[in-house]
């Protein structure tokens, strides 16, 4: 694990209210009890003690995390706060939600536990996100109304968006207009699609031409640089890449970490432990073990053959063509789950390699041009969404 900080992606429930066709999770009706949360927390804190780690961030996800009531989170927050204080640990919380169950009853706990900020997801045009028996339009309308309600309560709503074939058809200009100008989203992250979990027709249709997707990314980055970067609009990963290429502090997405196995784990509502939320419910063969059934999380992680496959991945990849890449320092072979879901092995580089290289080169050129022109705005900083966004 990272020397000083531990990130835990915690699926408070494996249940979801939505039926998004491209979801990578194998959803169940399991959810965490406060008692089980306490058991998990004790082992996480033991692990942190054993490794001298002082800070923990819990990224609450699901399923749909808001299917547990606000009162449950209040109890969880109190329990975690007390345990953390006893052990001398600093603990932060982040919430990833589809926002559909949101009501003003959440406001107090969102303010207190999550710093009045949440991260949610929306695609445009929406092809796959829907409620059971309903269409994408219904989902979009409900989502927009909930987001408006949350914003009116002063909650900062960040968005993760996954481009699809319709996104590429409408183009970056229209996409930016919709999110920023029409929906008022000023902090969002673009993620690449992948067919994780059980196969279906929608996931087969997720595959996009890498060159087309790269063009979309570069065009969107240019639009953002021209219109949004100096008006407090933040688009990940573009903003962090600009920071990187102008020698400022940058928090790059987890897909480009030197080794995600050193950075975080996910635990689902049944106690299964895996690399991240993309793996924990959907790929039983890649689970590290079960935190509720082990004596020690440290031993579970140390002895897990599945985890070893993750730690070894960049070691293997760098001995092939990644070592020749100009952008090795930014990418380290990319995302394991994107690789596995498309190649059925971890030991290939990320299928979006060419997209990443094109984007890195483009942002590097733009950052160099802007820096040379003295046109750089203050450092762009965005927290939460881009660090751990699937």
């Amino acid at each position: 694990m990272n020397g000083n900080h531990f990130s835990l992606i915690l699926l408070a429930t494996n249940q979801c209210n939505a039926a998004c066709e491209y979801c990578f999770e194998d959803k169940t009706r399991d959810h965490l009890s406060i008692e089980r949360l306490g058991l998990i927390l004790d082992k996480v804190l033991d692990h942190m003690d054993a490794h001298g780690i002082g800070a923990l961030t819990i990224h609450w996800q699901g399923g749909e995390a808001m299917l547990l009531p606000p009162q449950w989170y209040r109890e969880a927050f109190a329990l975690i706060g007390e345990a953390g204080a006893q052990r001398g640990k600093h603990i932060d919380h982040g919430l990833q939600t589809n926002m559909l169950p949101y009501s003003p009853e959440w406001d107090a706990v969102i303010a207190e536990m999550f710093g009045n900020s949440v991260s949610t997801s929306l695609d445009y045009p929406n092809l796959y996100r829907k409620l059971p028996e309903r269409g994408p339009e219904h989902y979009d309308a409900l989502w927009a109304s909930k987001v408006r309600m949350a914003r009116s309560a002063g909650i900062d709503v960040k968005v993760i968006s996954v481009p699809n074939r319709a996104t590429l058809e409408i183009g970056a200009e229209r996409f930016y207009e919709h999110l920023v100008d029409e929906l008022g989203v000023t902090d969002f992250q673009i993620n690449t699609p992948f067919p994780g979990g059980e196969a279906n027709d929608a996931k087969q249709a997720l595959a996009l031409g890498v060159a087309d997707l790269a063009r979309f990314h570069c065009e969107l980055a240019d639009i953002w640089l021209e219109r949004g970067a100096d008006r407090a609009v933040r688009i990940g990963p573009f903003d962090q890449l600009v920071n990187y290429f102008t020698q400022r502090d940058a928090t790059l997405p987890c897909i480009w970490g030197r080794n995600c196995a050193d950075e975080f784990i996910a635990v689902d509502a049944r106690g299964h432990v895996a690399q991240c939320d993309c793996w924990v419910t959907s790929y039983p063969d890649y689970r590290f073990g079960n935190i509720l059934e082990c004596d020690s999380l440290s031993e579970l992680l140390r002895d897990s053959p599945a985890r070893r496959r993750f730690t070894e991945r960049p070691v293997q990849l760098v001995q092939r063509d990644c070592i020749d890449c100009d952008y090795l320092a930014l990418c380290h072979g990319g995302c394991p789950v994107r690789t596995y879901s498309m190649h059925q092995t971890l030991l290939e580089k990320d299928p979006y390699c060419e997209l990443y290289k094109t984007l890195f080169r483009h942002i590097e050129d733009q950052a160099t041009r802007l820096a040379g022109a003295g046109a750089m705005s203050p450092q762009t900083s965005s927290q939460g969404v881009e660090a751990l966004g699937s």
Partner: protein, 283 residues
């Protein structure tokens, strides 16, 4: 961490095997071992104040023991066979959370990959430069270009870094010192407790006053009319590249010096163009 600024000129630093620690307590030390756990168990808190850094002579699996030990203390990782071992650096990257970490690697066939990965993981690098042949000069030139110009290289690559800063700030520098091979600054102690000269001087007979070796060597090269007599980079080099073979052709390393000099001049000009802090008229 381990650049020459941390090696005091007024006291010799002894580069000792961990097993000799008790005999050298109280002196300025670099302590080396193959075993991270042994370093943790045998170096006490009382020793830390006198440590310049510790050197891990090989990369056994697992660096966890060092992650939270003596936080802030420099660690140097030795890659004896860079083409075979370089990928193992991933296992040591977590040390960077709490330590300045430098990778020491010989400039030999295949070293480029190791240098590139080390830089990509944000390790500092120290090159055991020796007397590089022409093909290696080409590799060094590429590495130097990356060090100077690529934003992906954010940590020092020695000896480039110290020479660049020295030339930029017009400060006296010596490659012998930068490479930690000046007998006036560093002594190597072998497993048997014998004091040796450091680096490429090991085993050489340099006379009875080794601390005067560099100046005597430099003076001799100049007075004997060697290539050094006309060399514009003699001041920072001091005959470093003429050891051990005096007939080594320095044309290649001079191109590297020239590149560094040009970069230093450009950097100095850039620094001079920065308005003083608090200048209200600055744009």
């Amino acid at each position: 961490m381990t650049d020459t600024t941390t090696l005091p000129a007024d006291a010799i630093v002894y580069h000792i095997p961990l097993e000799r620690l008790s005999a050298y307590r109280g002196r300025r030390l670099i302590v080396r071992s193959d075993d991270p756990h042994a370093l943790v168990h045998r170096i006490g808190a009382v020793d830390l104040d006198n440590l310049a850094y510790v050197q891990l002579r090989s990369l056994p699996s697992g660096s966890d023991a060092l992650v939270h030990w003596a936080e802030g203390l420099g660690i140097e990782l030795v890659l004896d066979s860079p083409p075979e071992d370089f990928a193992r650096l991933y296992d040591y990257a977590k040390l960077l959370d709490n330590h300045p970490v430098r990778v020491l690697l010989p400039v030999a066939a295949g070293f480029e990959k190791a240098a590139k990965l080390a830089s990509s993981l944000q390790f500092a690098v120290r090159l055991q430069i020796g007397q590089p042949a022409a093909p290696l000069i080409e590799s060094l030139a590429r590495l130097l270009a990356d060090y100077l110009h690529r934003p992906t290289v954010g940590q020092p690559v020695e000896y480039f870094h110290s020479v660049l800063l020295g030339l930029c700030h017009r400060q006296p520098i010596s490659l012998w010192a930068i490479q930690e091979e000046d007998p006036a600054l560093v002594r190597h102690v072998d497993a048997g407790g014998q004091e040796r000269l450091p680096g490429k001087l090991a085993g050489a007979d340099v006379g009875v006053r080794p601390e005067q070796f560099v100046e005597q060597w430099a003076s001799r090269l100049r007075t004997e009319g060697a290539e050094c007599a006309e060399c514009p980079f003699f001041a920072p080099c001091r005959g470093y590249f003429k050891w051990p073979r005096r007939d080594y052709d320095c044309a290649g390393v001079k191109t590297l010096f020239r590149t560094l000099q040009q970069a230093a001049e450009a950097l100095r000009a850039d620094l001079a163009a920065i308005p003083p802090a608090g200048d209200a008229n600055s744009p």
